[in-house]
């Protein structure tokens, strides 16, 4: 059988793809940032919190990690709106991605925080740092440095998972692809293009995270080795 590839629709539709990719980037940058905040707070709560707080965070992590993102998105978008809380598709997408990413980040950050040695905390105590100062300067950054590779690959996976938000009509890259392919009947070409764009985005995110890592972790920048 022979199949003629035809990418001619690109001449007309490329701005749609750019707009879709841009929304994907916006959605994921916001979700990753908020997810990191949520995950870090939950990780701290899980380690330093009281027994009930620990249990609560544990339940959150397990509930999210053992259910599909698609269903979580449906609960936020369709479920909450039926309860009277009307949210736009974009806002629902961000909420679902933050809640989802936050749970995974909690586990990763927890591993990082637990890898900080007691002696570091004792030294901080001796220097008269308050608890908040200790957490900010002695615990969090070095903890993040240790789990940075796991953290960033989790973030890249979150970016790829954002394609699922197309199912609630968020007009990001995948939804754009669905739209263009239903106009042009060129589904094979459309999805190949979008796959390439996602590959490029993953590469771009990896480079960005590497650069952010260089800025964030001075020791690594100077010595070339992790903590």
């Amino acid at each position: 059988m022979s199949y003629e590839f035809d990418f001619s629709f690109l001449a007309e539709r490329w701005p749609d793809f750019v707009a879709g990719a841009w929304l994907t980037v916006q959605l994921t940058v916001v979700s990753i940032t908020l997810g990191l905040v949520v995950g870090t707070i939950c990780a701290l709560a899980r380690i330093y919190g009281g027994p009930w707080l620990k249990r609560l965070v544990g339940a959150y992590v397990e509930l999210i990690r053992n259910t599909p993102l698609l269903v979580q998105i449906f609960i936020v978008y369709f479920g909450l709106s039926s309860l009277g809380l009307k949210l736009s598709a974009e806002v629902s997408a961000v909420i679902a991605l933050v809640v989802n990413g936050g749970a995974y980040t909690t586990e990763i950050m927890r591993a990082g925080i637990q890898s900080i040695q007691r002696t570091q905390l004792e030294a901080a105590d001796c220097l008269g740092l308050t608890r908040l100062q200790t957490i900010l300067h002695v615990v969090l950054l070095p903890a993040m440095e240790r789990v940075y590779p796991a953290l960033t690959s989790q973030f890249v996976l979150l970016m790829l998972a954002s394609s699922i938000t197309s199912q609630i009509s968020t007009e990001e890259l995948t939804a754009t692809a669905n739209l263009v392919q239903s106009d042009t009947y060129r589904s094979f070409e459309v999805y190949i293009i979008v796959a390439v764009v996602y590959l490029a985005l993953s590469a771009l995110y990896r480079v960005a995270f590497w650069l952010i890592g260089l800025v964030l972790f001075a020791r690594k920048r100077k010595l070339g080795t992790a903590l």
Binding site: M1, Y3, E62, L63, R65, N66, T67, P68, L69, L70, V71, Q72, F74, I75, F78, G79, L80, S81, S82, L83, L160, A161, S163, I164, S166, Q167, T174, A177, N178, Q181, Y185, R186, S187, F188, Y191, I192, V194, A195, Y198, L199, S202, A203
Partner: protein, 215 residues
Amino acid sequence: MIELNANHFLYLLQAATWTLLLSLIAFAGGSVVGLVVALLRVSKSRLLRGLAIGYIQLIQGTPLLIVLFLSYFGLGIMGYKLVPIVAAGLSFTLYAAAFLGEIWRGCIEAVPRTQWEASDCLGLNRFQQYTYVVLPQAVRLAIPPTVGFMVQIVKNTSLASVIGFVELARAGQIVNNSTFEPFAIFVMVAAIYFAMCYPLSLAARALERKAHVGR
């Protein structure tokens, strides 16, 4: 409008068996292809290693949803019209193979070098080294992360709903269309997924703990 009732719940449970079946297909297919990917990934030949790396990067760098669309709509337009379960099975096999291949590569590489050298000294050939010495040890290391990855497979089968395969997530949408109680229904769907995934997560954790005690 129809009231949400016990029959709807039974319908969801029935759909959950399709989720399990699809997960099994994905895991079986992914294991076979994944083992090949893992072996290529640790091969002596640069070309084969490069191929395996390229494959892994390709799959891990694109969303599973796009792979699904490509194999269902894309191949369909090219003339290979696959039924949803075949398209989904194919996509999940490709997806699982990339991740399992990478997990198992780590396990194969974690077998100490000395084991390779010792089996070299005993005059075993490469095939014998793998089947008698390396793989049996790698399998023990591989079990906990593999069980952990099965959770990902079960969850990701929910994406098959977008190509019209009636598994748990799609069944939830169908029930929702007739009863319009999305919150109750999707929480129920999530609970069923949880009931399938949580035991796997617990098992993975227990196996991991056991593996660490042994060392």
